[in-house]
């Protein structure tokens, strides 16, 4: 009888513990969801507040004009040209992504030195939720890269110690260029945007698996960032993304061409 009572109490406290854990976890998940959903809203608001048209209405740019698709298309074209002209002032290679024509270009001092067709494009909803005039104004300035995550090194430096004398000297070995490398990169900008460049998988299983793990790592990084923000009671910053898929050699050429703190312009 006593043993039964004790077992009953133990089961009771165990289920209470489980319940507490379940409640705690549910609250945590709900908090995570709320914080995550509010982050893009606040990003949209901040972009709108910073770049929305604030001029007098009589000046020609009235509300209907700012929502006219033909006006916005031209305004986007102008913004893209402005951003490219700004980038042409820099000495290094820059990247321009034209989503209208599905072309990614490497440019140096305003000269297109390389171009490649974009196979697939995905945009964060912030680009469509923001005021079209505001988002286009934002795109009229080039993005400046602050951080990058990549599956390949930026400079494939090979370390070699010189021989002490001629007896140690070995003739130059031809590098193995046949080895398959998978190239997926993320470029994070100073104003909190992200450009993902994925290599085309062409149905290849290892390439798809690599892309999946690369993407998963990024998702884990983002989740850890949100949890950290929740822990410190700070607002997580949502980083709107632009995801493009290109042939592998093009992604590699782009990543190796643009400097670590390089620039890129986007036309949506």
């Amino acid at each position: 009888m006593d043993a039964d009572l004790k077992t009953g109490q133990r089961t009771d406290s165990f289920s209470r513990k489980r319940l507490i854990v379940a409640i705690f976890f549910s609250l945590f998940a709900a908090g995570y969801l709320i914080v995550s959903v509010l982050a893009p809203v606040s990003k949209t608001e901040s972009v709108n507040a910073e770049y929305m048209y604030k001029g007098p209405e009589k000046n020609g740019l009235n509300d209907t004009l700012l929502k006219d698709s033909s006006f916005i298309a031209l305004y986007r074209q102008k913004a893209f040209l402005q951003a490219r002209i700004t980038m042409a002032a820099t000495d290094s290679a820059v990247l321009s992504i034209d989503m209208t024509d599905s072309i990614a270009r490497i440019e140096i001092k305003g000269v297109t030195v390389h171009s490649s067709g974009i196979k697939n494009i995905r945009l964060s909803s912030v680009f469509t939720k923001c005021d079209p005039y505001a988002i286009t104004s934002l795109l009229s300035k080039p993005f400046v890269i602050s951080k990058s995550f990549a599956s390949i090194p930026k400079e494939p430096v090979v370390h070699k110690v010189a021989p002490r004398d001629t007896s140690e000297y070995k003739p130059y070995e031809i590098p193995d260029t046949s080895r398959k490398v998978y190239v997926n990169i993320i470029l994070e900008t100073e104003n909190g945007f992200r450009l993902y460049m994925y290599q085309e998988t062409n149905g290849s299983m290892p390439a798809r698996l690599h892309r999946f793990t690369f993407d998963l790592t990024d998702r884990l990084r983002n989740a850890a960032y949100i949890i950290k923000c929740m822990g410190t009671l700070s607002k997580p910053e949502y980083k709107p993304y632009i995801k493009v898929t290109l042939p592998a050699k093009e992604v590699m050429a782009i990543y190796r061409a643009i400097p670590a703190k390089g620039q890129f312009a986007v036309r949506i």
Partner: protein
Amino acid sequence: MNNDQNNGHPESSGRSFSESELVQMLSGIFRSVTGNRIVRKTVAITLRVLLILFSFTAVTGFFLYLVPAIQDNGRKTTYVSPETGNYSFIKDHKREIAKLNAEIRNLSGKYQSYTPFSYLVINTTENKFRLYQNRKMVREGYCSSGSYIRLVTPEGSREWVFKTPKGRFTIQQKIVKPLWVKPDWAFIEEGLPVPPADDESRYEWGVLGDYAMSLGDGYLIHGTLYERYMGMPVTHGCVRLNDEDLEAVFNSLTIGSRVYIF
């Protein structure tokens, strides 16, 4: 007689158990399985593992996939366009649109003016070059660029990184029958003692091909004895071309011509 009847009903010919027999048999198996402690434990563990796996997948799926998907949903901006059928405002916008078009023409003109008429582009990732004349590509082919080898002396006192610089360059000098003055690394790389600056062993004729074009800071576009390495990153920072391509590039570009390396 019976055989004849069965021939018309193939499903009845294979039936060996009645329904009640089948139920009895299954419940027998169930009783023997649940009666066996080891089997019961195995089933319980399997179910627990499956539950843990399912919970883990659900939790990671929620945090890593579902929440980001929810983040991306929401109201999108609607545009007003002639396709929507509302044409009344279009007329009022014409002036603004014409103004914008003029601005775009100006900017495009400015942007196009950056492109010179004749220039050379070198892609160090693919080790390819492209020669442009009158803004049209006239020749393309393989080249060799920097190997990205970091050479360190055995004592670690000196080091070189053999990479081709990137950016915009101008041809500063055109040389016919260039002479190679071997720098220190050429001796160190082979384990040879470094001779004095004006030593005869530093001068080598013929190894740079028939022509060379200087890009400044000691970087050249030149020929090579090792044409089989074209398309590979094998140089000490210079750009190597094969004899035919080198001659074509040499004849097309003048001093001051632009070379874009990326």
